[in-house]
Structures are given as C-alpha cells and as structure tokens.
C-alpha cells in the first residue's frame, strides 16, 4: 500500500525522482542513479538534521514535518520520519 503511494508519486507529473533514505543516510530505495542518490542522500540528511534541530531547539514540543527547497531548476521535498527520510525531486512548473 505504501508501495502504491510511492509509485503514484513517481508517476506524477513533473516528478524527476524519489528516494528513501534510512536514519544513517544510506539510501534504501531510489529511482535515480547511484552516484546522484548517494550525493543527495548525504547532503539532504545533514540538512534535515540541522533543520530538525533548529525547529526543536526553539520549541522542543515542535517537530519538523517537511522541508521544501525550491531552486531555479526544480524543487526538492524532504519528509522526515522517525527512522526514514523520503526525498522527492519535482519540477513544479511545466
């Protein structure tokens, strides 16, 4: 059932790639090539940790729901979970 959701996301309009990264920054599942995945995983993992730390430092009862980085070319969306990290790269405007 989660598989279906991921498939749907991948086949959605404008989505370039999706990947699932575990708590240590190791990609578990990806639709992109290996080198890109590893790069994204490592960098975004750190960024997510930092963002989460920031949010929680301000108010410990708060927590990070998701992180969006919109750049010129596309948008990277990161949804952190307790143990996993879901990353989707989409090209929003077409």
């Amino acid at each position: 059932e989660v598989e279906e959701t991921l498939k749907r996301i991948q086949s959605h309009k404008g989505v370039i790639g999706t990947m699932v990264v575990n708590a240590e920054g190791i990609p578990i599942r990806t639709t992109l090539d290996n080198s890109t995945t590893v790069q994204y995983a490592g960098l975004l993992h750190q960024l997510t940790m930092k963002a989460k730390s920031t949010v929680r430092d301000i108010d410990p009862q708060n927590d990070l729901t998701f992180l969006r980085i919109r750049s010129k070319k596309h948008e990277i969306m990161v949804a952190p979970d307790k143990e996993y990290l879901l990353i989707v790269i989409q090209n929003p405007c077409e």
């Binding site: 989660v2 996301i9 959605h12 730390s53 998701f66 969306m77 307790k82 143990e83 879901l86």
Partner: protein, 691 residues
C-alpha cells in the same frame, strides 16, 4: 705580628686593642714588613709612662660564663610567689673539636695496638735477618754504623727488606689485615650472572570501535524526559492490569512482533512521510489551483451586476469508479477538506458494483480511502459526532456502516435479508442522535415504502419500522374487507434541524409527507409537491420553517411547512438532480440539472432568477447528479454520472452577506439569516394573500 698589623693603617680599631698590644712582644720576622708601614698614633690614645706600658696584665681564660646570672628569680603563677631558679648554666664553651683519639684500653685501641705489634713483628724478623747482615757488615764499617745508627739501620733495613722479601715470601706472611672501621663494616659485593633479557609480546585484536557522538540540545533533553514519562506510565498500567497468565503469551507475541519488525527493512514505516510527500507533490502540480482556492476572488464580479461565477478548481476522478455515476456526496463534519463520494448506477438495467471513495482536497489525484461493494451505493451519510462512521445504502436494499478508523475494507455492520433489509433501493440514509442506550442509530428510506430505524447494538443492526408510506386515497377495499394500501415509494427525506422527531419524506409520486417519528401510521401533513418523483428534500439550515424540494419535473420549489403551497417555484428547463442550501446564508441555494448546468440562487438578490447559471461539466451528455456545499470554504462539489467530481469556487457575488449599516453591531448569523428570509417570505405571503 698581628698586633702590630692592627697598630698600622687601620687606626679606628686601635682603641680596643691597645691593652693587648702593649703587653705582647713584637715578632721578629715581620720587621721588614712592618717597617714599610707608618705607624699612626690615634689622637685619643692614652699617654702612658714606660713603666705603665710594661706592666703586665694577666688574662685568664676560664670556662665560666660571666654573663650567666647566679640568682635568677622567676615568678611562678602556680604558686603565686617568686621562686629561685636554681641552676643556670655557668659554663661557656669556647672551643669544641671532634677528635679521633682512641683510648688505649678500649676495644678499638687494643686492636690497633695488636696490629702495630704484628707489623713490628714482621719488621723485627726482618731486623733479625738484617742484624745478621749487619753483623757481617759491622766489621766492615763499624764506624759508620755507630755514628748514625738511625739512618743506617734504615738503609740496610731497606736493603735487607728487599732481600728478606724474597726470602720471606715462602714462610707464612702475615695475613693481609682487612682495614676495619669502628662498626666492623665491610663492603661485600658480588655480581651475579645477568640473564639475557627477552621481550615477550602478545597482541590481541583491537576491540571493535565505533564512533559515538551526540549533541545535548534542548530537544534531546526534552525527548529523554518524555521517554521516561512514557516508561513510567507503561509500568503503572502494567501494574494495574494484573493478568500474569495473559502476560506470557502477550510477551511472546510482543517478541515476535519486534523481531518481525527488525527483520523487515520496512518500507511501510515510510507511509506517513509518503502521504505527506504525495500531497506536497500534488500541491506543486496543482499549485495554481490551490492558490486560486485560497485566495482568488473574481474581481470581475463587480462589473457583473449581481451575477456570479463558479470557478472550476479541482477535478477528482478515479479509474476504478470511471463508469459509475456519482450517487451521493457528503462532506466530513470534522475534517473540512475530506468528502465522501458514493458510486453506483441510477440505471435500472445496468447494475454493477459500487464504490465508496474518500477524497481530500489536499490530494486531488488519489482518494484517501477506497471501499468497494457488490451493489451500487445510492446514498451515504457521515455521523456528526463520530466522523469516522459512515452509513451507506445500497441499490439492493442493504445498508452498511463503515468505520474509517479500522483498516478493513469491509463494513463493520451490514444488514442482511434476515435483519430486515429493504426490498428496494435505499434512497436516503441519515444518522440520528444516539438513543437512550447510547447506541448509534440511523434512518433509511427506500422505494419499498418503509422508513426504517436501524440501531447498532453491539455488533448487529437491529431494525425497526418507523413508518410505512401509504398513498393516501388509494386504498381499495378488497372483498374480504381488508384495506389494501398502495405503498408509496420514498425517494428522499430530511430531518428537521431542531425539531428532532419531525421529518419530511419525498415520494416517487411527487408528494411530500411531513411525518413524525412517534406517529407511525399517520402523516402530519402532505404536500402535493411535484408531478414526478421528488429527488431531494432539504430543510433550510437557518429558518426552521422553510424547506426546499426538487424533482425531475424540472422544478425547484421552496416551501413554508405551514403553508400548503410553495413559496417560490423555479423552472430550470431540465430535470433537477439535486438541490442544496448554502451553509453561510439562508437565502442562497444551488441546484444542478441533468444538462450539466449548475444554478445558484440568492433569494435576497434576485427572487426569480438564478444569479449564476453555468455549465459545469465538460460534455453535454454528462448529467450532474449531486451537489454539496462545503461547510466552511466557499466551494461546492458537483458529481456527475461519469464518476467525476468537480470542485468549484463560488465567486464573491454568490456569497454576499447582508451589508451592515454603519454604526450597527455585527449581528450573529442565524438570527440575521432568519430575519432575511422572513422578510422575503412575508413579501411573498402578502402577495399571495392579496391574490
């Protein structure tokens, strides 16, 4: 000498040393030295006569300490008197020297003496030998021997010693005496054989190391505290539930669960995140739509006089429900962006399965929940207090209740032929308030003429017939005297918002009956509403007396339930599928027709015409079947018979609120709305009474 030195150049010291100087003799050897210096006589030197100068003064060096007092008296506090301290040290030490003279009689002295004797003994033996030699030599040089015996004996002794040494080596020589000190200490050293050193090493495998780093942030501390709290609560709960026997199988089950979880590198745990991301992706794709939904207000409305438009927003469709018509729409009372769609078929010939889909506005591309059923769904309702309970009525007459909280795809309650399902399609279901036993119950109306109340008792549905619809005036008398009533077919009903027991039923014959739950045989009132079947009946959300009905005879009628004739009649040129009041105003309602148009009316603005008349669905063959207003957002959803749901935004003109006059307070909604409608009704009533 030293005195003379003092007398010399250093004249200051002369005063003290004078007495000593006069009594001593001048040394002889220093004549040369002293003469080089000039003797200076200090000016205050005493003038003495020669006799006085030569006078001898004796100086005695004693050990008596002249400074030591002989009679010291000290005050004793203990006795309170002066006491004589007897002894005072009178001895003054002038000079001490540690010497090394040993008395002859002591041990050490005797030892040394003995040693000397031994040495002498050896020397004497030498002398004995030498004396022989001397005797031989004496004859030769007797004179020399006598004159200087001392020195000679030395020489011949030396000569003889050399000779004697050669002779005396063979006889026992005196042992070499150890030099002893007074402690008889002698150093004795010996060197042992050093073993060669050997290194022995043993190297183990280094223990596995991992890096551990952690940060101490405020939130980590908070997390730790929360975990502690949870643990404590868990232990408390465990203590409360004392079931030791049950615990063991639980534990085993728990262990199995945990082991299972750890084994599978779980993708299912990402479900939450995946959901969020899906919505985000959708938001991106439909970004402009989302923006419109939130913020777009059609500015052109100002120029359009009083008409408004419907801005199409999202379109919801699902492959599986493609060929099924939308038969029911309902917004969730709690989550305002969630709505339920029932799919089925109105076509008598083509009856197939049914689907129940739940969509969220946040994710237009895929429904949140999907349920499928064998028979087409004709109606649905969501409970107000329990927004996860949904009741549906099927084409085959069954009713079912779904629980969204549970993950089953099957309904949790279902009526069967035994439990009194309807024999005809169920056209409308409605939740009621909980009954006396706090059981949930709902009503259903069907073409078989029964209005049934169902109660959810534990795991069953219990049905109670409330009313059997009869067509009035059609009872025929059979020869046996029984009265045969033609059963009316209920197609729609609605319960009064405030008067709980009162409800309206619309029938296929076009009549609307006002009924009460308590009276099962008689109707409170009957209205000859339409020429064809009544498709929908709804009470006005604000005004307690007004209700509206629509029918396939192309009309929409608004009634006051106390008056038998409708207040307003609208002819829409096409069969009206559904009609709904707006939740924000008592005078606004929408109606949808089978020609694909949506009509929005505002009685306060225009009593006779629609202020918006807009084709909503793409193809003309597409009939719109249902319409619903969203309770909070200014949007409506419209379902058609292709299985598509379109979401439209109401333009500002359609949402006009009564203008507040300056200075007046903002009045609360319902009262204002009721007043508004009342005004209109009064106008109409006046007209009617006049005519």
């Amino acid at each position: 000498m030293p005195q003379k030195r003092r007398q010399s150049v250093i004249g200051t010291r002369g005063a003290r040393k004078r007495d000593e100087d006069s009594g001593t003799d001048v040394g002889e050897g220093t004549d040369e030295w002293t003469q080089s210096k000039i003797t200076i006589r200090p000016p205050d030197q005493l003038e003495l006569t020669d006799a006085e100068l030569k006078e001898e003064f004796t100086r005695i060096l004693t050990a008596n300490n002249p400074h030591a007092p002989q009679n010291i008296v000290r005050y004793s506090f203990k006795e309170g008197t002066y006491k004589l301290i007897g002894f005072v040290d009178q001895l003054a030490v002038h000079f001490t020297q540690v010497g090394n003279l040993i008395p002859k009689d002591s041990d050490e002295g005797r030892r040394q003496h003995f040693r000397d004797e031994m040495v002498e003994g050896s020397q004497e033996s030498l002398k004995v030998a030498l004396s022989d030699i001397e005797n031989l030599e004496e004859d030769e040089e007797p004179k020399e021997a006598e004159t200087e015996p001392g020195s000679q004996t030395d020489v011949p002794v030396a000569e003889a010693a050399e000779k004697a040494n050669e002779e005396l080596t063979t006889p026992a020589q005196p042992k070499e005496r150890k030099l002893t000190n007074q402690f008889n200490f002698s150093e004795r050293a010996s060197q042992t054989f050093n073993n060669p050193l050997r290194d022995r090493e043993c190297q183990m495998e280094p223990p596995p190391r991992t890096n551990f780093s952690a940060t101490a942030n405020q939130w980590e501390i908070y997390d730790a505290y929360m975990d502690e709290l949870e643990k404590q609560e868990k232990t408390k709960e465990k203590e409360k539930t004392k079931t030791p026997v049950a615990k063991k199988p639980e534990k085993i089950a728990m262990r199995k669960l945990t082991s299972m979880e750890s084994q599978s590198d779980d993708i299912t745990k990402v479900s939450q995140a995946a959901k969020i991301v899906e919505r985000m992706v959708n938001q991106n794709t439909y970004d402009d739509v989302a923006q419109d939904f939130k913020y777009y207000e059609d500015a052109a409305d100002e120029y359009r006089d009083q008409e408004g438009t419907l801005l199409p927003l999202w379109k919801f469709q699902n492959d599986r429900a493609k060929r099924l018509a939308v038969t029911a729409l309902c917004w969730n009372p709690k989550y305002k962006d969630l709505f339920a769609v029932g799919h089925g078929s109105y076509d008598f010939m083509k009856q197939s399965r049914g689907m129940l889909l739940f969509y969220s506005l946040k994710n237009p591309s895929f429904p949140e929940y999907i349920f499928s059923s064998e028979s087409g769904i004709m109606c649905l309702d969501m409970h107000v207090d329990h927004p996860y309970l949904v009741v549906v009525g099927h084409y085959d007459g069954n009713v079912a209740v779904y629980n969204l909280k549970k993950a089953h795809s099957q309904p949790c309650f279902r009526s069967t032929a035994k439990s009194g399902k309807h024999t005809d399609p169920v056209w409308q279901v409605r939740w009621q308030k909980d009954d006396m036993d706090n059981n949930l119950n709902f009503f259903s109306v069907s073409s078989d003429g029964r209005i049934v109340s169902w109660t959810l008792v534990k795991s069953e549905l219990v049905c109670t017939d409330v009313i059997k619809l009869k067509v009035e005036g059609s009872s025929t008398e059979l020869p046996e005297g029984l009265q045969l009533h033609t059963i009316g077919c209920g197609t729609a009903f609605d319960f009064h918002k405030e008067i709980d027991y009162m409800f309206l039923v619309g029938t296929e014959e076009g009549k609307i009956y006002k009924c009460s739950k308590s009276y099962s045989s008689q109707f409170l009132d009957t209205y000859d509403a339409h020429n064809m079947a009544v498709d929908a009946v709804t009470w006005n959300p604000y005004h307690t007396k007004v209700f509206m009905s629509c029918s396939s005879d192309w009309t929409v009628k608004i009634w006051d339930h106390t008056i038998k004739t409708p207040m307003f009649i609208y002819d829409l040129n096409s069969a009206v599928g559904d009609v709904a009041w707006a939740p924000y105003s008592s005078t606004v309602f929408a109606a949808v027709t089978t020609d694909g148009k949506a009509h929005v009316f505002d009685l306060a603005v225009n009593k006779y015409e629609a202020i918006c008349n807009q084709p909503v669905v793409a193809k003309k063959k597409n009939k719109i079947t249902h319409v619903q207003f969203n309770p909070i957002y200014p949007i409506i959803i419209v379902g058609d018979d292709r299985g598509h749901i379109t979401c439209l935004k109401l333009s500002p003109n359609l949402r006009k609120m009564p203008k507040e006059k300056k200075g007046q307070e903002v009045q609360k909604g319902p009262a204002v709305e009721i007043a508004k409608l009342d005004k209109l009704l009064n106008l109409v009533r006046e007209v009617k009474t006049k005519t």
